[in-house]
């Protein structure tokens, strides 16, 4: 049975990837940062108590900021595949937390590669490594973007991802390690973090529809992105590690839409006109913007036999439907006289 280790397992991609790998019969291990409240909500459906003999998902406390801990986990888990998804993953926040972002994304990747380099050479076992790159690395480079497009990062997040990308290549070239960079364009789902624009919009649409919210404040409506479904994209990650040789791949739908398009499609799905509900708040503008990301994934399609199944409209509908259900649950509780208790709240 193959063993995989995932950093960032508590995130969106971590949960879809875990689901995929468990479905393929893997034993899946994840690194989780210690917090005083549960932070593994996205894994609840998959998680079994470790005393259960059928359990194949195991979580370990660790942090890409702690290299010694990473080494210990590698020795304990002895994975055949490692997926480095850990990050401070919000572009706008990275302008206000540039140092932390660099430490988690760039130095974190480096610490992990260093630990893997030694683990492989001491144990004699080879490990296949997936490094999470990002279309944000292309930044201001004109679209469409593919594997040969030069990087022009426009945020501390993007700069850090560029560094991590090149460490992956350098360790591949210097030490013969099997390391593949996935340059994934935006990928969303009902499990997306609530402060990312797609989920922010679909939650707002749902809450506005049931009367729990009045306004949606957004930043730059003209920014264009290539949005796909995270469930499709983790399949590409896995395929990269099954290939004969390590390589770097763009993963994208090949279609680009603006935030304004997203707003229009999401509101239309619940039969509302966005006018009157949507306002622009400059606090969401970025000091340096990425205007247009539009990926060319022909290499992944051809060499990994990968295709995205869910397109933009279907994705938006999926997310709005999910958030509508969540909003209705909350509304039901309130109408029944309850005050819904937030996680960790005492009131």
């Amino acid at each position: 049975m193959k063993r995989a280790l995932i950093t960032g397992i508590t995130g969106q991609d971590g949960s879809y990837l875990s689901e995929l790998l468990l479905g393929k019969g893997y034993e899946v291990h994840g690194i989780v940062r210690r917090a005083s409240t549960f932070n593994t909500e996205r894994l609840q459906a998959l998680y079994r108590d470790p005393h259960d003999p059928a359990a194949r998902l195991f979580l370990h406390y660790g942090d890409v900021g702690d290299g010694t801990g990473l080494r210990r986990i590698l020795e304990k888990v002895r994975p055949e595949e490692v997926y480095n998804l850990a990050a401070q993953s919000h572009v706008r926040v990275s302008f206000d937390q540039p140092e932390y972002t660099a430490d988690a994304v760039a130095t974190g990747a480096l610490r992990l590669l260093e630990a893997l380099r030694d683990y492989s050479s001491l144990s004699g076992r080879s490990v296949r490594v997936y490094q999470a790159g990002s279309s944000e690395m292309f930044g201001a480079a004109p679209p469409p973007q593919d594997e040969s497009t030069p990087f022009h990062p426009r945020s501390p997040y993007a700069v850090s991802k560029v560094a991590a990308h090149w460490y992956g290549i350098n360790y591949r070239e210097s030490y013969g390690m099997f390391i593949s960079n996935g340059i994934l364009f935006n990928h969303e789902s009902p499990r997306r973090g609530e402060t990312f624009v797609t989920r922010k919009v679909t939650r707002a649409v749902a809450r506005i529809k049931v009367g729990l919210q009045q306004k949606l404040y957004l930043g730059n409506l003209e920014a264009k992105r290539d949005w796909g479904f995270a469930g499709d994209y983790v399949e590409a990650m896995w395929r990269m590690l099954q290939a004969d040789k390590a390589d770097d791949f763009v993963v994208a739908t090949g279609e680009s839409y603006s935030v304004r398009d997203l707003v229009n499609v999401a509101f239309a799905h619940v039969g509302l006109d966005p006018k009157g509900y949507v306002d622009v708040d400059p606090r969401y503008f970025r000091p340096a913007e990425v205007d247009h990301l539009h990926g060319n994934a022909s290499k992944a399609r051809k060499m990994l036999d990968w295709t995205p199944k869910v397109g933009f409209r279907e994705l938006t509908a999926m997310m709005v439907d999910h958030d509508l259900e969540v909003a209705k649950q909350e509304k039901t509780l309130r109408e029944a006289g309850h005050n819904p208790i937030g996680r960790g709240a005492t009131e």
């Binding site: 540039p98 760039a106 480096l110 426009r154 560094a163 460490y167 350098n170 070239e173 340096a288």
Partner: protein, 322 residues
């Protein structure tokens, strides 16, 4: 009122030459090192300027330290030359290397942004970021393809500078300098190692010079000229990145041959190439197009590889008593 400059990395080769140049231009010069009381500052002493530079301790990886030095020195210009500067060592100290360049540069950028004063920042970029330059000479638009932890770290710092320039309109720029040498180079760097050995062998040391890969090709220039380019970049109206190089590429073998020729010897009689000195990943070919610097900075390298060798050999011979 003269201008004030802070040079981070004053104990290195470029720091010393830059300090000498700025002092000549009438600047008040502050130089920083991680511990100013412990460092030897041999470069400053060799150039006879140690008494004229105000020395400050500054740890670039500590924001508080960076901020306090900027507040105390109130510079018009900051030259960031600090960091773990050995490509070879970076394979063994990749995290230290990354932190010294990426975190260090970030702290400078953040401190400047935080204070909101009009400080001009020069950042030391590196031709190592280009990696192997295969088809045409590298210029400012050539994509990076770093091949060592040093080069990755320098690339990160380069992009941080560009991002802060674009996002916050800071006057911040990177000089993408190709290899630049001088008698102040430490012996861990191959050029000085070769010159020092050639001079010792010519004096009868009987040693054999061990080197790694001799076929690698580099553009070698004269460091005192290169620091002039750094200063010129900060005098422009707008901040821009520049390639600084001679435009002439030679193999390490021809550098070695020139050095031994200068002392009247044939290099093949005294040199061994050993695998132990080869790097896990190496740049085979590095070549530059410095046309933008000529056009916009009116800067051009007068000394090419052969001149660099002759100057370094002469200085080495003057250093050692016969």
């Amino acid at each position: 009122m003269g201008k004030r400059a802070v040079i981070c990395g004053i104990s290195g080769q470029d720091g010393a030459y830059l300090a000498a140049s700025l002092l000549q231009k009438g600047y008040t010069v502050f130089g920083t090192s991680r511990d100013a009381q412990v460092s030897a500052f041999s470069g400053l002493h060799e150039l006879h300027i140690a008494g004229d530079v105000h020395l400050e301790s500054m740890a670039l990886t500590d924001f508080r330290s960076v901020l306090q030095v900027l507040v105390k020195c109130e510079p018009d210009e900051v030259y960031n030359l600090a960091g773990q500067s050995s490509v070879g060592l970076s394979f063994q100290q990749p995290v230290e290397t990354l932190e010294s360049f990426a975190t260090g540069t970030l702290n400078l950028l953040e401190a400047i942004r935080f204070r909101g004063q009009p400080v001009r920042l020069y950042n030391a970029g590196s031709s190592e970021c280009f990696g192997d330059v295969l088809h045409t000479d590298a210029d400012e638009t050539t994509a990076f393809r770093p091949r060592s932890p040093y080069a990755v770290a320098k690339s990160a710092a380069h992009w941080e500078v560009a991002n802060y320039r674009e996002a916050y309109n800071l006057f911040a720029c990177s000089g993408i300098l190709f290899n630049h040498e001088s008698p102040l180079r430490r012996e861990r760097f191959v050029t000085r190692k070769i010159v020092a050995a050639a001079v010792r062998i010519a004096k009868g040391s009987g040693e054999r010079l061990k080197l790694g890969e001799l076929s690698i090709q580099r553009d070698w220039g004269w460091a005192p000229e290169y620091v002039e380019a750094m200063w010129k970049m900060l005098q422009l109206d707008k901040p821009e990145d520049f390639v600084i190089a001679t435009g002439q590429t030679n193999s390490l073998e021809s550098f070695v041959a020139s050095a031994f020729e200068c002392v009247g010897l044939h290099w093949r009689d005294h040199v061994d190439s050993t695998a132990a000195l080869m790097r896990p990943s190496e740049i085979r070919m590095s070549r530059a197009n410095p046309a933008k610097a000529f056009t916009l900075l009116n800067w051009r390298a007068k000394n090419k590889m052969r001149d660099v060798v002759e100057l370094m050999v002469a200085a080495e011979q003057a250093r050692t008593p016969s």
